[in-house]
């Protein structure tokens, strides 16, 4: 049973072996398990070629090199109808992500798509950026003309709320940065969660982080906001480092994009070439190019067959001194937490003894996310390069 449940999950770290041990104790204690949660699943049937109706999506983003590619890919994909861009502080501060988002709608020739300024700081914590990876300006140092388009007067949470409320159950959110705007929208309007079709996000990891050994950058920046989203009841699709670290562009991919004559490919080519040069300066002799984290997340809305999914209950560490922003994937009950420092006189929550605050055993296990565990890299690169150069 425990061996079965780990089958087909390569490249996992110790997490999986410990999770197998938990399963065994869980069973011994008579906890219900959820067989369905252990089976790989394909994503919710996103409208594909057979369905002519485009999937309506708001892109919440912190552009960002790979955000730029994801947004340009999304605009060039007829499967998607982009309803709005809601930039947030993350990879670089909002004073860059907002004009960058405006530049991207202009480059894509889609200035009709509203862009609303989002949060300039995480919900509670101070902002940490990733300018080391994205350049001070977020586009790897490539300068584009100042945007002529203006952001709408509504704030990002307000715009998200208005668009979702106007079409309940139809709008998905593609979240490519920290969850600050999403958390704000959900707290401003508690009824909103039920009306959001799905959140597809780039972020998290079940196999170690990038900004710290445990946390992926987007979740690390605003763990409290991510916590709010994961506990909102909105169906989530997590495209984390488990798969995104496998999609690094090659020089040949970048050359192909540079050769195309459309404005999106030209802009993408410049950003990618500059980033490639930065990587080679930092790691001389490296042949791998920029990692396409965000466009891989976008691709799941375009062609779900690129990623293999598995159901998990994802929670976020918000208390750790070293581990805040770590995503934990539970596959079945019980959802154990750290043991208490004191022994309670009354056993908590149906436990025989105090073994940490866990919900009652009778509570059913509900996965809250499908997590990408495998990627067909060739298929993804064909999609990304193909769409940009078409």
């Amino acid at each position: 049973m425990s061996a079965e449940s780990t089958k087909g999950l390569p490249n996992r770290r110790d997490f999986l072996t410990t999770s197998a041990a938990v399963v065994a104790t869980g069973l011994a204690a008579g906890y219900p398990t959820l067989a369905a949660a252990t089976r790989p699943t394909s994503p919710e049937p996103f409208p594909g070629a057979a369905d002519a109706t485009p999937h309506r999506v708001i892109i919440d983003t912190d552009p960002g090199v790979d955000d730029a590619l994801a947004i340009l890919l999304a605009f060039r994909s007829p499967e998607l109808k982009i309803e709005a861009l809601t930039p947030v502080a993350g990879n670089v501060p909002l004073e860059f992500t907002l004009p960058n988002a405006l530049r991207l709608v202009e480059i894509a020739g889609r200035s009709d798509v509203p862009v609303a300024a989002g949060a300039s700081a995480p919900l509670i914590r101070k902002l940490v950026t990733a300018a080391y990876a994205h350049g001070e300006n977020g586009f790897g140092g490539v300068e584009f003309a100042a945007p002529k388009t203006k952001p709408v007067t509504e704030s990002a949470p307000e715009l998200i709320r208005r668009i979702v409320r106007a079409s309940p159950g139809e709008i998905s959110l593609l979240v490519l940065g920290p969850f600050t705007n999403i958390a704000l929208a959900l707290r401003l309007d508690p009824g909103l969660a039920k009306q959001i079709r799905r959140i597809v996000f780039m972020g998290g990891s079940l196999s170690g982080g990038n900004i710290t050994p445990s946390a992926e950058f987007n979740i690390y920046v605003d763990p409290e906001a991510a916590h709010i989203a994961f506990h909102s009841g909105i169906p989530m699709t997590m495209v984390g480092l488990d798969v995104t670290r496998k999609v690094q562009l090659s020089d040949a991919h970048i050359k192909a994009i540079e050769a195309a004559q459309n404005p999106s490919a030209q802009a993408a080519g410049r950003i990618l070439r500059s980033t490639m040069n930065r990587i080679q300066k930092m790691t001389p002799g490296s042949t791998a190019g920029p990692t396409m984290h965000d466009s891989l997340a976008a691709s799941v809305l375009i062609d779900p067959s690129i990623l293999t999914m598995e159901d998990y209950f994802i929670d976020v560490e918000t208390q750790g001194q070293l581990t805040a922003g770590e995503t934990l994937g539970y596959k079945r009950f019980p959802i154990r937490r750290s043991p208490p420092l004191e022994l309670a006189t009354t056993p908590a929550f149906g436990e025989k003894q105090a073994t940490g605050a866990v919900p009652p055993a009778s509570e059913p296990f509900h996965p809250n996310a499908q997590v990408a565990i495998q990627v067909d890299t060739e298929k993804f690169f064909r999609l990304l390069v193909g769409r940009l150069t078409a």
Partner: protein, 366 residues
């Protein structure tokens, strides 16, 4: 010489602009937004609003409602009904946060198992009800409706329309203010300052809520992360009406009797729905001292924050003197510590027995 002329010219222009700015506010009134966990009828949450509505020098731009003592929706209903009864339906009521930013009821119950019971939990009290339920209202249901805008966006819009003019009053948990700060990072800077009722420093009391943990106070405890965001924002000034000073106040039978004999809608609302002797005039003092600061006889200037550490101190007040403050951007707060109760009592009775400025068709005496 020429340079001095320029300085004088700019100075003159400054004076002119200042006078224009004050002339642009309604008849030069002091502008305030009333952010409140508005349970009712009667009680401290409602009577503090009356303090501001009864002052001829104040323009209440809106009432932004947040879950705290009660759930938001029932509080919105009590506020709307109060405004109908006293004839001030021109004051907009805005729906704010239903839940704290991070704290949940379930989490709080787990926390209580480890660290002991919280004496008072407002909307989460043991015999409480669901978030959107509105139990029967003694004063009758309102026929008016709240505005469609949410509280946080209203707060942001107002301070941007009237920069440096609006005082923010906060009488409940700080969730709405934290949301406004997240939406507009310069929100606090654009206000005229913040006054809030909350926080507990060193009260010598047998009142159960503070007797075993003097640094625990409901308004700041209910949404600790929002309190932290509020207390670290760049307000021009922060005035805190602490538990220490509020506990020195009392709604006496004499005060009640004096108000109850007057036949105005406000006095009769109090006569019918307020109760003397039940508890301190927590929020009324905060509002009244803003109008008449001389009733406060002792102020302690301290740096103040809230513990957002999820251990036993989660949500407790932290204070420091200049000498011991941490190397962080903590902010100085004027904490009211003592009050001239006689002065406050007289002031309160005088206001509550006066006619309501700008009242139109009050329903109270109909």
């Amino acid at each position: 010489m020429k340079r001095i002329n320029w300085v004088l010219a700019w100075f003159g222009l400054g004076i002119l602009m200042l006078s224009l700015a004050s002339a642009s506010s309604a008849q030069g009134k002091k502008r305030i937004i009333f952010d409140q966990d508005a349970s009712g009828p009667g009680g401290t949450d409602m009577m503090s609003l009356l303090v501001l509505l009864q002052s001829p020098d104040v323009e209440v731009l809106g009432v932004t409602v947040v879950t705290g003592d009660g759930w938001r929706d029932e509080e919105v209903a009590h506020t709307l009904r109060l405004l109908e009864l006293v004839g001030r339906t021109d004051v907009p009521v805005l729906k704010g946060a239903v839940y704290p930013l991070v704290r949940t009821k379930k989490y709080t119950e787990l926390w209580e198992q480890l660290y002991g019971k919280a004496t008072y939990k407002g909307a989460w009290r043991a015999n409480g009800h669901g978030p959107y339920e509105i139990p029967e209202m003694k004063e009758g249901k309102p026929s008016t409706a709240p505005s469609s805008e949410d509280a946080a966006h209203f707060l942001v819009r107002m301070v941007n329309e009237h920069p440096n003019e609006i005082t923010i009053y906060a009488g409940g948990p700080m969730t709405n203010l934290a949301q406004a700060i997240s939406i507009d990072e310069k929100f606090a800077e654009k206000t005229r300052g913040l006054i809030f009722m909350g926080g507990s420093i060193n009260p010598h009391t047998e009142v159960a809520e503070f007797a075993t943990n003097p640094r625990h106070e409901f308004n700041l405890w209910f949404d600790p992360e929002a309190s932290h965001i509020m207390l670290t924002a760049k307000w021009p000034s922060i005035v805190c009406t602490s538990v220490d000073v509020s506990l020195q106040t009392k709604f006496s039978q004499e005060m009640f009797d004096e108000i109850a004999k007057v036949q105005t809608p406000v006095a009769q609302y109090i006569a019918k729905y307020a109760h003397p002797g039940r508890g301190p005039l927590w929020d009324e003092l905060s509002a009244a001292a803003w109008l008449e600061p001389s009733m406060i006889t002792g102020i302690q200037k301290s740096y103040m924050d809230i513990s957002i550490d999820h251990g036993s101190s989660y949500g407790d007040v932290l204070i420091w003197s200049e000498k011991v403050k941490p190397e962080l951007e903590v902010r100085m707060v004027d904490i009211q510590m003592t009050v001239d109760m006689k002065k406050f009592g007289d002031f309160f009775v005088k206001l509550m027995t006066a006619p309501t400025p700008g009242a139109k068709d009050p329903l109270m005496l109909k």
